[in-house]
């Protein structure tokens, strides 16, 4: 139930984490 | 005319049908009575619009009138109806295979004798066509929709918001005759339709606007609905108080209905509902949190 939504949210959070890491690397 | 239908069919009408009839009527009226520098129309009789087409979706014992289309504006004669309807039917069938012609509509205050002729002509296409009648005279004191649905006995399903009339066979003076019988109906809307009806009714802005504008529009809609609910409850409350004082006679059926309604509250109190409700709540908070983090990432990226 709601598996599509949760997998989409999971994808969003994963990509957000990856983006933040990339931005952090740019700062450093 | 018999008083009410006993067919047992349920009729549901979508607002689109009502507004299409209104549109058709207004166009015919404006052509027959051109506006004169904003002056009100004269007292000449309003034109009668007859439209021999309605597209409906059938589903078991329920019929939904979701759309209507015009075929002829001048009163169709019984002989012209079947051919024009067949043409429309074939077009509609290609586009909406689940829809079929359920009946026809007209404007006026009462069903007339001549309507029966057209109704019988349509029985070639549909065994029990539905006849929807809209009263175009504007009366601001009325609260109910000025629409009536008449149905026929063979096909007692009709979901038109208008008055439904059922056609029943009666023997009058030894001759079997068909007469119109009114049927009750309900207004049905899908979510998108409801939003657009609300939009047109209150002429809300369709462009994005700011978040504050969107929030205001959303809350205004809910506020209006709650206000309606509140006014209905007040009316009931005053009525019950009057009954209690003895000002009006006691109506046991109403008391039973009110009692049953009150006993249904709280509406949902199960653990499953609480779980689902809290899950939706937390999902929304999670999405808000992720959006905030995305915004923060944007700010940091811009800073970098």
């Amino acid at each position: 139930k709601g598996i599509k939504k949760y997998s989409a949210i999971d994808k969003w959070s994963t990509q957000l984490k990856s983006l933040n890491l990339t931005i952090t690397n740019r700062v450093c | 005319m018999a008083s009410s239908s006993s067919s047992g069919l349920t009729f549901k009408l979508h607002p689109l049908v009502i507004l299409n009839i209104s549109d058709h009527y207004t166009r015919v009226k404006s052509q027959s009575q051109p506006p004169q520098n904003g002056a009100e129309s004269t007292a000449s009789p309003l034109p009668r619009v007859l439209v021999a087409s309605s597209a409906f979706r059938g589903d078991g014992r329920s019929r939904s009138s979701t759309a209507s289309s015009s075929s002829t504006t001048p009163p169709p004669t019984p002989s012209t109806v079947p051919s024009s309807r067949k043409n429309r039917n074939s077009v509609n069938k290609k586009v909406f295979p689940n829809y079929y012609i359920l009946g026809w509509y007209s404007t006026g205050s009462e069903a007339e004798e001549s309507d029966m002729q057209i109704h019988k002509a349509l029985m070639d296409i549909n065994e029990s066509p539905v006849y929807v009648l809209l009263n175009p005279s504007i009366n601001h004191t009325q609260k109910d929709l000025p629409a009536t649905i008449y149905e026929s006995v063979a096909n007692t399903f009709c979901s038109c918001g208008l008055i439904n009339a059922t056609l029943e066979l009666h023997v009058i003076d030894g001759i079997p005759q068909l007469i119109f019988v009114r049927s009750s109906y309900t207004i049905e809307t899908v979510e998108a339709e409801r939003i657009s009806v609300d939009h047109v009714a209150h002429l809300k802005p369709s462009d994005g606007g700011s978040a504050a504008t969107q929030l205001a529009a959303h809350l205004t809609g809910i506020h209006s609905a709650i206000k309606m609910l509140n006014s209905r409850i007040r009316v009931l409350h005053h009525y019950l108080l009057a009954m209690q004082k003895g000002d009006i006679p006691c109506e046991n059926s109403l008391l039973r209905q009110v009692s049953s309604l009150l006993r249904r509250l709280p509406a949902i109190e199960s653990e499953k509902f609480q779980d689902d409700f809290l899950m939706e709540y937390n999902d929304t908070l999670l999405i808000t949190y992720l959006a905030m983090l995305t915004n923060c990432s944007r700010t940091v990226a811009g800073l970098v």
Binding site: - | H14, S30, F96, P136, D198, A225, A301
Partner: protein, 295 residues
């Protein structure tokens, strides 16, 4: 009354309309055509009624000719139908409308070529696009009216009117053709009978307003939006990652592009959040209204 006067078909005035638009030159004539008031009611309802089929119809001519899911050259035959006159609709065909379920109000490549072709042969003519899925999700009608510029015309740079979310799989089609058309202001009109009936209809459908659940009704669409957002984030992140030494050597324009991409993603996420929060508000209000009563 004045509101009903607009329904009166005046042949001379219609002829003037055509003349006015055929004399327009290649610059934007939005102010000339924005006075074409369209009946939102019919457009909205017809599109929303047929949204699962990607409905398509004519404006101002034939009332209910609908064709499934197509805006190709077959439309040219479709538009020449004369049935409008037979049903007593005296007005000329002034445009066409179709729906973009879930992907916003804009003109795709096919839509642009269809509109351009029709504008060559009949004027005034406009294209209306409606998005019933976003209508339900946002709680307001998503509609746009457009006209194309003449072929080969380069419009002056104008500020973007209003940002709208475009799914990743449609973004190329959107971007290639977005300069070939311009949007029109939409004004609405209602007859006196319409106003009266709409007031009476409110007495019936206010229940639906209170009972609607935007959170529950559009779950697939929301999941699709979030998934699309995640993909856009991935794209932005890849772009940033490839410009590892970005802060040092990237040209200013590229930096601006990267920033605007993330800014757009942020706007998309804000839009999703706002819609979810509105839905949650409705649920909380209903819970308070109906579940906090105690015997």
């Amino acid at each position: 009354s004045e509101s009903d006067a607009i329904f009166h078909y005046d042949e001379a005035a219609q002829a003037n309309n055509v003349l006015l638009d055929s004399t327009r030159c290649s610059d934007s004539t939005a102010e000339k055509v924005s006075s074409l008031a369209i009946t939102l009611r019919n457009v909205t309802f017809e599109c929303l009624r047929s949204w699962r089929h990607g409905g398509l119809d004519l404006l101002g001519g034939n009332v209910s000719k609908v064709k499934n899911d197509s805006s190709d050259m077959g439309l040219a035959e479709f538009l020449s139908d004369e049935e409008g006159g037979q049903v007593g609709r005296l007005e000329n065909v002034v445009g066409w409308y179709h729906s973009h379920p879930g992907y916003g109000c804009w003109l795709s490549g096919i839509d642009v070529s269809t509109q351009m072709l029709n504008q060559q042969f009949q004027e005034p003519f406009l294209a209306v696009v409606i998005d019933p899925t976003r209508t339900v999700s946002a709680g307001k009608v998503e509609i746009g009216a457009f006209r194309t510029y003449p072929e080969g015309y380069k419009p002056p740079d104008e500020p973007v009117s209003e940002y709208q979310t475009i799914p990743l799989n449609k973004i190329e089609d959107f971007g290639v053709h977005c300069k070939q058309y311009y949007s029109l202001d939409i004004t609405y009109f209602k007859s006196s009978l319409d106003c009266h009936l709409l007031d009476l209809l409110w007495n019936k459908y206010w229940v639906n307003t209170l009972s609607s659940s935007p959170l529950l009704g559009n779950k697939d669409y929301v999941a699709g939006q979030i998934s699309d957002l995640a993909e856009k984030l991935e794209q932005a992140e890849n772009q940033l990652a490839h410009s590892r030494f970005g802060p040092l050597i990237a040209p200013p324009q590229r930096k601006k592009e990267e920033e605007s991409q993330i800014a757009k993603i942020t706007k998309d996420s804000a839009k999703i959040t706002v819609e979810q929060v509105h839905g949650l508000m409705s649920q909380v209000i209903k819970d308070t209204l109906f579940n906090s009563v105690r015997q």
